[in-house]
């Protein structure tokens, strides 16, 4: 797979001198589903904004598809990486849902007939009802706003997404539904970089986790390895999933290996510590 993003000694300092990112070196390939995990203030959002070209690093390098991010024009970059912010309202620039959906493809310069061809398909793919197209986009619930932005990027031909905390402040049903859309896109070859502090969401969907704390990458690897490391998570102010703790406690304290079927039932396939299961 081709390398989508590569950073070399990426540093970001706020104007007051606070170092939000400290020597970040990472590589994300096209077609990956990667979770960037960390507690409040760990630097996740700053990293996301740097990777999306919204913040200029203080020093270090960001390569997007092998090219220095500084050499990208705005339109070019949007075609390569779509960013969906946590403060989604600040990203919505149009009055109606329809205008918002058409905004990015128009700005990018996608031909009108191409937009028209894919419009219906994208709408049904993200289950956006036609009845809301004329509604003011700011009046909609957060989970619909997320879909509207995603639809706009899809029509613009963007294939790689950085999504910041899509599951906070919403009901579970709609949170999971949105991540399911991302999962389906990923199956179609899209890249998903999901920023979250929700260990359970990553345990369900992500194969790889980049764990951050105080502006540094403290672990980067297979989700199962990282989410099974109870000490590592706790040290970084995160809570392992209940399943992880239970499976580990039973193995260590009571010498019981749970059958794997139990974890399948839980659908938390990436959070059960491998050595403590019976296959």
């Amino acid at each position: 797979m081709m390398c989508l993003i590569k950073t070399e000694n990426l540093v970001y300092e706020y104007p007051d001198g606070t170092r939000a990112l400290d020597s970040i070196n990472l590589e994300i390939k096209e077609g990956e589903f990667v979770g960037i995990l960390g507690s409040n203030g760990s630097g996740k959002t700053t990293l996301a904004k740097c990777l999306a070209g919204l913040l200029k690093p203080t020093s270090g390098l960001i390569l997007v598809k092998g090219r220095d991010i500084r050499h990208y024009g705005r339109k070019d970059l949007v075609r390569s990486i779509g960013y969906i912010s946590q403060d989604i309202d600040t990203q919505l620039l149009n009055v109606s849902v329809l205008e918002e959906i058409l905004f990015t493809p128009k700005v990018i310069g996608v031909r009108r007939d191409l937009i028209k061809d894919r419009f219906e398909e994208v709408l049904s793919q993200l289950e956006i009802s036609k009845e809301i197209l004329e509604k003011p986009v700011l009046s909609l619930p957060r989970h619909i706003k997320l879909r509207v932005l995603l639809a706009s990027y899809l029509l613009a031909g963007t294939k790689n997404f950085i999504v910041d905390e899509p599951t906070t402040g919403q009901d579970w049903h709609n949170s999971i539904k949105f991540v399911e859309f991302l999962r389906k896109l990923r199956e179609g070859g899209y890249t998903v970089i999901l920023i979250t502090h929700d260990v359970e969401v990553l345990a369900r969907y992500s194969e790889r986790v980049i764990l951050m704390n105080s502006g540094r990458v403290v672990a980067d690897g297979e989700t199962r390895e990282i989410l099974s490391d109870v000490e590592l998570l706790k040290k970084n102010s995160l809570l392992p999933t209940y399943t992880t703790q239970l499976v580990r406690d039973l193995a260590v304290e009571k010498h019981i290996l749970l059958p794997e079927e139990l974890t399948k039932f839980l659908s938390l396939k990436f959070s059960t510590p491998r050595p403590y299961l019976k296959y």
């Binding site: 960390g38 507690s39 409040n40 203030g41 619930p141 957060r142 989970h143 906070t168 402040g169 919403q170 009901d171 579970w172 049903h173 709609n174 949170s175 999971i176 502090h197 260990v199 359970e200 102010s237 995160l238 809570l239 999933t241 209940y242 399943t243 239970l246 406690d249 039973l250 193995a251 304290e253 009571k254 010498h255 019981i256 290996l257 749970l258 059958p259 139990l262 039932f265 839980l266 938390l268 019976k278």
Partner: protein, 285 residues
């Protein structure tokens, strides 16, 4: 025991939309109870929270049918400026609540408004800040400059500083990571134990609260679809409603074992779960 919150056949419609947002809601929240209300967006949860802390009908225009009594005071149909001073409220958007330019002023103002002397206010400010796991160095900062997690904690500190008899929290954890959430939940529970505070919390994240809850309520389309103690709530939860609720992992494992191995449905705790599993799976090592 009398009800701290007593709602009888309550209907409510905002004047702006004219649609019933609450439909025939009846609920009695008892003293020292820890009640969690969950449900999808638009179900009426925030409206119910506004009723419980007296914001409706005081500050919103609309039509109310039925009876509302909070801490023994009838609030139905009054638009009087009477402040329910014994009720603490944390909104889901903490920034909306801030009125001053420093965290200390923010909490002090709330205390002074509810009649706490300035000498006592200082002590209470320190106490409240500590309860939510913040350090005193934050007191001089502007609440607007803080991270979203810190804002949320300041809003909670402000609400608990007055040691209210009833505390209503609307999605207090939405910006907190797990460690922060746990800390805040523990401080709310301490308040309940030490100050006999009745707690009503609106949340999607049930698992962090699970061990402290007295009851869980599910709101759907303006009605209370199910209200029960935590274990029974999840056991009775109809399949078609399951996607609306973030069922904690411990419950999912329990439910699975109960169904698969015909276990008796009894009190649910980490310990009891481990004991059952030990019995079921011993010898697999």
């Amino acid at each position: 025991m009398s009800c701290v919150v007593d709602l009888r056949n309550l209907w409510w419609a905002y004047e702006s939309s004219g649609e019933w947002v609450l439909r025939n809601v009846s609920l009695c929240v008892k003293e020292k109870e820890f009640l969690l209300i969950t449900g999808p967006a638009g179900a009426g949860k925030t409206t119910l929270a506004r009723i419980m802390c007296g914001l409706i009908p005081r500050s919103y225009r609309g039509v109310l049918k039925g009876r509302v009594s909070i801490l023994g005071k009838e609030v139905t149909n009054t638009r009087s400026p009477q402040v329910l001073s014994d009720v603490g409220f944390v909104s889901s958007d903490p920034e909306m609540q801030f009125l001053t330019m420093s965290v200390e002023d923010e909490i002090t103002l709330r205390l002074r408004l509810s009649g706490v002397s300035s000498e006592e206010a200082g002590e209470r400010v320190s106490w409240a800040i500590k309860q939510v796991g913040l350090s005193e160095s934050i007191l001089d900062k502007s609440p607007y400059e803080l991270s979203s997690g810190q804002k949320q904690r300041v809003a909670i500190a402000t609400a608990i500083a007055t040691k209210p008899k009833l505390l209503v929290l609307d999605e207090p954890l939405s910006n907190l990571d797990w460690a922060g959430a746990e800390e805040v939940v523990k401080s709310i529970e301490l308040l309940r134990l030490n100050q006999q505070t009745t707690i009503v919390v609106i949340e999607h994240r049930i698992d962090v609260f699970m061990q402290y809850l007295s009851r869980i309520a599910l709101m759907l389309e303006g009605t209370l679809a199910l209200v029960d103690d935590p274990l029974n709530f999840f056991m009775k939860l109809p399949k078609e409603f399951e996607s609306y609720v973030r069922v904690p992992e411990i419950v999912r494992i329990w439910k699975y074992l109960v169904l698969r191995y015909s276990l008796r449905n009894e009190n649910l705790s980490d310990e009891s779960l481990k004991t059952h599993i030990t019995k079921l799976f011993r010898g697999l090592w």
